[in-house]
Subunit: 392 residues, 2 copies
């Protein structure tokens, strides 16, 4: 691996996050002497990363030249879920210039899934979204060896174990690629442009089909020894609870998750205790976790109780993790974040009651700000960081 | 705060950890050109940090001069427990030149406790252990603001909240001081010279009167936003369990710790179910956690069962933390590490059964190597790092 000049990356990140900046201000902000800055900029213009953008407003003397990231820069951001593909092509400032979202089953395997990703990206090119990509960032719903760019023993991704995801994308698009866990890219997204902006220690809880946790500690994503840190879905919350797909009883995910909630909602609808759910089951033959959210908004007591029970279970796990990590914030994201305030209220209540007062004195428990875009937003950040490092 | 030259600190650490090294080897190891190295060494000799130590064996050409840390260097390492004071004075290589250990009640407050620490250190000086101290490192049994050098809302340390521990020691001994949590200094000790040597991600569980956890992530101690990370004693393990001193029912510490074990052992002795414990209660009027350890060694079934039950409770919490942090090692330390193999076997059994196979594929669960010295050993490392930083 090449050594990366940190000042270099800093310069490109500054232009990414703030847009056009005058040379004079860049020199001040990076504490870089003018001759070195000009040489640096010239090199980056030559590499196609930076472009001039007219003159800045006067600061009293001669007007300084504005520079910005080249308008040609393009990154691809891919968020693979258990049952979805989200793809965005973004410009240097990470603004989407093309976006695609569709249903897909991760269990159809890496070849089928990545072929579809490639098709969507080629379509974006045909539609004029880019001429060439500078980097690709991908999130997958399972543990990842970040160093090797491959999934590692992902429980819900048959056929993906050690599949060379990074290599395949690099070859297909002729640019560097980076692979990470789906929850990590959400956390990166929220920290870069969402509710956790500039927060150094926080946990992002994704509640979707399953439950996972992205971990930011000391300003960095923490991935663990094998890349599977944050796998909180299989923490036991009830030794007498329902059997989990992992073979143990009462895992958090077996008790509260999209799948668990759909199961409990179906039971409630059949038992006739919930008019809201029974109506939906009759109409569509199936009820989902989102029906529970909708039922709760309409005031259905069973739906409200299901969400409260789930929030209590999740809250008890989070209380332990708060005592353990002493974070500055907890962010709730993923599809079931739509369960909204009832869920948040219950989580807060358990966490504040059960953790050390010192650790919860000033601990916001908040909803994701970027919602369904959190994943692709983070994948775009990763892709741009990778490209900026390579440009050094 | 002054900026610290990392190369400087690296040089001093190398001499601390490896002893006398030739100038030629130093230059190679630090990739430092000879003129700069010589200037650097001369400065450090002038500051009294480094001394010459004769000539190295020939590497083929001219023999290179050996350098080592000045034999005059002295650090004080202090480990304050709930009921004990351990003090060591160590030389530059962190070898003890004086050591004191005695019972003390942390609840007697900071003035009484720190006065006793100062008396012990002055006694060490009178005994010829040092002329002056270069830094003091202290661990206390509660949350610490590492930046401010003060305990913060420590639950079992009345009178210590925000007491200026660092300032008082600095003034008394005329050298810089550093304050950390007792479990953190144990983790630092085990990583520097114990079982976790060079392990980047590990958890150190201290089982003493209470239970706490030291956290090493990515090669650094992780302390959390308010300095109270690792407070796992108040994670709930049994909603119907005994009331904890914190006011919540069924905390880990209320179910398994030195105090909880003494309580359960007393009950068992009185109920007549344990001959080993009953005998000790009759003989001394009181039974402790160590009596349970001794009883287990003698084959007393109740004692073995008490340890197994505790190990299962602790194991269930650790299984969750393993899923969350995906560490490379778990180290069990503190006074109750003497419960030994029965405890380890039970913890391993629960952790391996309940965590992701990926996270436990190669996860040693081992006993502390430094035993009761782990704390002072880590405090000495902290003190030397602080002094080396100041020397830059």
């Amino acid at each position: 691996m090449r050594t990366v000049d940190p000042l270099h990356v800093q310069l490109l990140r500054l232009l990414r996050d703030e847009g056009a900046v005058s040379r004079a201000e860049l020199g001040d902000r990076l504490r870089m002497p003018r001759p070195r800055l000009l040489a640096e900029l010239q090199r980056l213009v030559g590499l196609g990363y930076v472009a001039e953008a007219g003159l800045a407003a006067s600061r009293g003397g001669r007007r300084s030249t504005l520079v910005e990231l080249s308008p040609r820069l393009r990154f691809a951001a891919v968020d693979l879920g258990a049952s979805s593909i989200d793809v965005e092509v973004v410009n240097g400032r990470l603004e989407p210039v093309a976006a695609y979202a569709e249903s897909a089953d991760i269990r159809s395997g890496p070849k089928v899934t990545l072929q579809r990703v490639n098709e969507l990206l080629h379509k974006a090119r045909a539609d004029g979204a880019y001429e060439r990509l500078d980097a690709v960032g991908v999130g997958v719903p399972g543990p990842v060896s970040f160093r090797d760019g491959v999934p590692v023993s992902p429980p819900i991704m048959p056929g993906w174990d050690r599949f060379p995801v990074r290599e395949l994308l690099t070859r297909e698009h002729g640019c560097p690629a980076v692979v990470d866990n789906d929850v990590n890219i959400m956390a990166i997204g929220e920290r870069h442009g969402g509710v956790a902006h500039s927060v150094d220690n926080f946990l992002l809880i994704k509640i979707g089909t399953g439950i996972g946790c992205g971990i930011y500690l000391n300003g960095e994503v923490y991935r663990g020894t094998d890349g599977c840190a944050g796998d909180i879905g299989h923490i036991q919350v009830d030794p007498n609870g329902p059997m989990c797909s992992c073979g143990n009883p009462g895992c958090l995910e077996a008790v509260f998750s999209g799948a668990a909630l759909a199961r409990d909602a179906t039971t409630a609808a059949r038992a006739g205790v919930s008019p809201a759910l029974a109506e939906r089951l009759t109409a569509r033959g199936v009820v989902t976790a989102l029906d529970v959210a909708q039922g709760a908004v309409e005031g259905d007591l069973t739906c409200i109780q299901l969400i409260r029970d789930g929030g209590r279970r999740l809250g008890s796990v989070l209380a332990g993790l708060v005592s353990f990590t002493n974070p500055s914030m907890i962010v709730i994201g993923g599809g079931l974040a739509q369960l909204g305030h009832i869920l948040l209220a219950e989580i807060r209540s358990v966490v504040y009651r059960r953790s050390l007062p010192l650790a919860t004195g000033n601990l916001p428990v908040v909803l994701s700000e970027l919602g369904p875009r959190a994943g692709v937003a983070g994948a775009a950040v990763l892709a741009s960081d990778l490209a900026f490092g390579e440009a050094s």
